[in-house]
Symmetry: C2
Subunit: 349 residues, 2 copies
C-alpha cells in the first residue's frame, strides 16, 4: 500500500547538467506546476547560490516550493568518479547526497557525472541489506508502449552470478512498481536461447534465475530488447554499456543518412523537410527526455541520474520518477526480497 | 601482388539457405553474368542433385560454368554445430568443406548453419599457423561509404587477450586488402576511451595492441561503430554477437514504428506510402545483402557464411567476395603477420 500523503523533499544538483542551473530550475518549476493534487514535494536546490538566484531571476518561478543549499564546488563530467569523495566535499553532488544520507531529503537527482553519483551514493547512502553491488539500469524504447529496463549499463563491469541475480530481483521490483506490471518478464542477455549458451557467468546466472521466484523467461538475445521480449533484461555493465551507447548512436546515424539524402538535390531537401517533423514524432519515445533519468538501484536511498544534456522536460520527469520511487517503498521491497529468510519462505510456497 | 589469372573453383552449399537451392543457383548465375573479364571462376554446387537439377530447369542458366557434386544430407539451422562432423558427413555442408580441404576447390560458401560451418571448417581445413581461434567478423553500416568490420561476432564467447590480438591482426589484413585502406584503424571495444577502462581481458589486450605495429587507435565505445571511429573493431564473441543482433533488429523496429504511424489514419498512410521508397533507398546499406556474407578468418582456406535468408544478390556478393579473398592471398598475409619471426622483425624496424 502507498503511504499517506507527505511532502517529499527532493535534493536537486543544480550544477549537474550541461545547461545547469537554468534547465534544472525550469524543470523543477514545470514539475511542480504539473504535479497532481494528491502528491506534494519541495525542491532543495544544491549548488552555487549566486548562480542559482541569478538564474531564477530570468525565469517565472510560479509557486515552486523550494529552498537553496549553497555548495561552492562543481564535479565536472571529466572528473574521476571518486573526486567528490576524495577532494570535492563542497560540491553540489557531494552535499546533495549527504543531505539525503543525513535524512534531510528523501531523494537526490543529478544530471551530472554518473560515475561520481554512483560512487558517492554507494559510500554515503550505503547499500540496501542483501545487495552486493548497486546497479544502474536504463530504459530502452520498444515496439510496444512500455520501455524495456536493461541493467546493469555500466556500474559493474565484471560481475559474479550473484550480482546479476540481484540485478534481476531489483529490476523486477522496480518495473513492477513503476509500471504496474504484476510479474515482469525477466530475461538474461546471452547469445542463444538455450541454457547452455553464453559465457560461464551467464550459464551460472541462468541456473540461479531458474530456481528463483522471478518470472524468468530464460536467455534473450540482442534483437529481443527493441522487440520487448522481456520487461527487464539482465547483463553485466560491460555488455550493457556497449549496447546502450550503440543504441544511443542510432538516432544520430539515421539523421546523418537523412541529411546526406537531403543534400543531394533540392527535391530531396523538400521531401526530407516535410517528412522530418513526422520522423521526430515517430521517434519521440527514443528520446531519453521521456524517461528523464535512470535509477541507481541498491543504495539506501533514492538517487536518479540524468543525461548531461538533460532538458527541462528531462529534469521534470526525473523529479516525478523520484517522487514515485519514494512513494512506492521500492527499497523496502528490495530488502525484503533479498532477505534469505523470505527467499526461503517463498521457495517453499 | 595479385596472382596471374586463374580459374577459381568455388564450392557452393546448394542446400544451405532458407530458399535453397533456387536462390543459390540464381545468385551464381548472376555473379557469373556480372563478372569482369579479368577474372574467371566456376561454381561447384554441392547438394541433392535431383533438387538442384529440377531448380535449374526453372531458371535461365545462361552461360554459367558449373558442376554438381551430390550430397544427400542437409544440415538444418537448428542442428547442433558439431552435427556435420559427427553424424552428417554426407551433407552438402560437410562435403563442400571437404572438397576445399582436399584441394578440389579454392573456397566454400554457405548460407546455412553458421556454427556448423565454423566447426566443420576449423576441423577439416585446420587453422592458419599462428592462429589460436578462427573468428567470424561482420560488417556494420556506418555514416561513411565503407562499412566497419566488427570481430568476433559469436565464434568465440570467452576470449583470452591473445585471441583478441589475433582478431585485430586478421581483421586489419582483411580490411586492408578488401577495401584498399593502407593502415586500417583498429579499435578495441570497451566502455571508455582510457586504457584503464573495461574488463580485465580488455585492459590486457589494450596493452598488447599498443605494443603491436597495427594502427591501434585505442578503446572505442558502442557509439563509435556507426560513426566509423575505427575501420576494424575488436571484441569477444559474446559482446559482438549481442551488438550484431541488436543492430539487425533496428530496421525492423523502425518499420514497426512507421507502420504504427501509418495505421493511425488515412492521411498518415498516404504520407508513409510516399516516403517508404525513399526510406528503403536511404537504408539500403543497412541491408545485409550488400555485404553478402561474413568471412570466417583464421582457417586454412576461404569460407564465407551468409544469412539464412540470403537472396540471389547476397549469394552473388558472397561469390565475388570469395573470389576476391582468393586473389588477394589473405591467408598467406595473416600467416606471415602472426609468424613470431616477422613480428620481431617489424617491432625492430
Amino acid at each position: 500500500m502507498d503511504k499517506p500523503q507527505k511532502i517529499y523533499r527532493i535534493a536537486l544538483d543544480a550544477m549537474g547538467g550541461d545547461f545547469a542551473p537554468l534547465n534544472e530550475i525550469q524543470g523543477a518549476v514545470d514539475a511542480y506546476s504539473a504535479k497532481s493534487i494528491d502528491l506534494d514535494f519541495e525542491i532543495v536546490f544544491v549548488g552555487q547560490e549566486n548562480k542559482i538566484k541569478s538564474a531564477m531571476k530570468q525565469l517565472d518561478m510560479k509557486n515552486l516550493n523550494y529552498s537553496i543549499v549553497n555548495a561552492d564546488e562543481i564535479v565536472t563530467m571529466d572528473d574521476d568518479p571518486t573526486i567528490a569523495l576524495k577532494k570535492k566535499k563542497n560540491s553540489s553532488l557531494y552535499k546533495g547526497i549527504e543531505l539525503h544520507a543525513q535524512g534531510y531529503v528523501d531523494a537526490f537527482i543529478s544530471a551530472g557525472n554518473t560515475g561520481a553519483v554512483l560512487a558517492t551514493s554507494t559510500i554515503l547512502l550505503g547499500r540496501i541489506n542483501g545487495v552486493s553491488r548497486p546497479t544502474i539500469g536504463s530504459f530502452f524504447p520498444s515496439d510496444r508502449e512500455l520501455p524495456v529496463l536493461v541493467l546493469d549499463v555500466g556500474a559493474n563491469v565484471d560481475c559474479k552470478a550473484r550480482f546479476l541475480y540481484e540485478f534481476a530481483v531489483m529490476g523486477s521490483i522496480y518495473f513492477r512498481n513503476m509500471y504496474n506490471i504484476e510479474n515482469p518478464r525477466v530475461g538474461l542477455m546471452s547469445i542463444g536461447e538455450e541454457a547452455s549458451k553464453g559465457n560461464e557467468i551467464v550459464m551460472e546466472t541462468h541456473a540461479m534465475l531458474k530456481e528463483s521466484n522471478l518470472n524468468f523467461i530464460g536467455n534473450v538475445e540482442g534483437r529481443d530488447i527493441l522487440h520487448a521480449q522481456a520487461d527487464v533484461i539482465i547483463c553485466d555493465g560491460f555488455t550493457g554499456n556497449i549496447i546502450l551507447k550503440f543504441a544511443e548512436s542510432v538516432l544520430g546515424f539515421i539523421k546523418t543518412k537523412f541529411k546526406t539524402f537531403a543534400n543531394k538535390n533540392i527535391f530531396n531537401k523538400i521531401i526530407m523537410a516535410s517528412f522530418y517533423p513526422i520522423f521526430k514524432k515517430i521517434f519521440q519515445d527514443m528520446d531519453y527526455q521521456k524517461y528523464g533519468g535512470v535509477p541507481l538501484l541498491g543504495v539506501n536511498g533514492v538517487a536518479i541520474i540524468g543525461h548531461g544534456k538533460s532538458s527541462p522536460l528531462a529534469i521534470q520527469n526525473m523529479i516525478n520518477r523520484a517522487v514515485e520511487q519514494c512513494q512506492k517503498d521500492i527499497n523496502e521491497k528490495i530488502e525484503s526480497a533479498l532477505n534469505p529468510q523470505n527467499m526461503l519462505q517463498k521457495s517453499n510456497d
